[in-house]
Amino acid sequence: MRCLLDKNVARYAIAGLYHGRLRPLSSLEVSVLSCWRVAEERGVALYISLASFHVLQRLAGYAEVRVLLDSAQVLSPTRYHTRWTRRIQETTGLAREDAAMIALATFGGDPQGHILGVHALMTCDQPMIHGYRDRLPQLQRRLRAMAIQLPAPFHQVALPRLATPDEWLADLKEGIA
């Protein structure tokens, strides 16, 4: 199981670690940290985008950031990522960066080139989740039509499940994710 963490998840994780000893955390901060912990305990591989990596790397001298960088691998765009980003945008009307993030979950690779895509994208962005879920059948059709023409391993790509930390936590605890 592989899960990509959206940029807002990384922000809530750092905020939670920073504020954790100072005040009661928000429910979102608790959910993100709980998800992170349970994912590690269940052996889920966590990923962050290359963009998140660049942002976090500038803050890597801080323990709260370093622990996140140490827990997640970097997922970078592969061939066809740009094309699929454009199609997601056309189909869902989502902003380019949201579409690029969803496309990364499908056409993203690790630095070793050993994996292609992830099973889930964890995000706190409700409009992004709704925009994606509302057009899921159309996206599935478009991805099938595109993938069938692609060489290995790209012809085997799949759409990710987009979920909030709470939804993901529930899935993990029930052994679904």
Binding site: K7, N8, A15, R23, L33, H54, E64, R66, V67, H114
Partner: protein, 128 residues
Amino acid sequence: MTRLANEPTTEFSVLVEQVARLIRHFDRRQKALLIQLVPELRTIRPEAADVPVEQDVLLTYFERKRSGWQECRPLRGDDPFLAGLTVAEFFALPEEEQARLWDQAHAEAWRESAGREQPVQADALPAR
């Protein structure tokens, strides 16, 4: 004595109150000796008593993880963070403004890495 917020059990709280009564009778030298024997007392802020027990357990998990990074130190309020703001300034902003600055930093990072393609092996594991 004021009751501690989020105290795990009454029994535990009574114990803390008994210890506090005892410490109040210490002179300054004895209190200093106590801090020498329990040095983490210096790093704990009084607000930590308001942190829920579940949160405390969660934080302990991550503190264990980060204890391996000796060259890193915890964030402090006056540390530089993002967009020219310190940690305290950034987290004092309204949630929408924090999100906007965070998104902006990511948008710049996306632009910087645009066009780069990660090669994938032919037998790479798809997410199926």
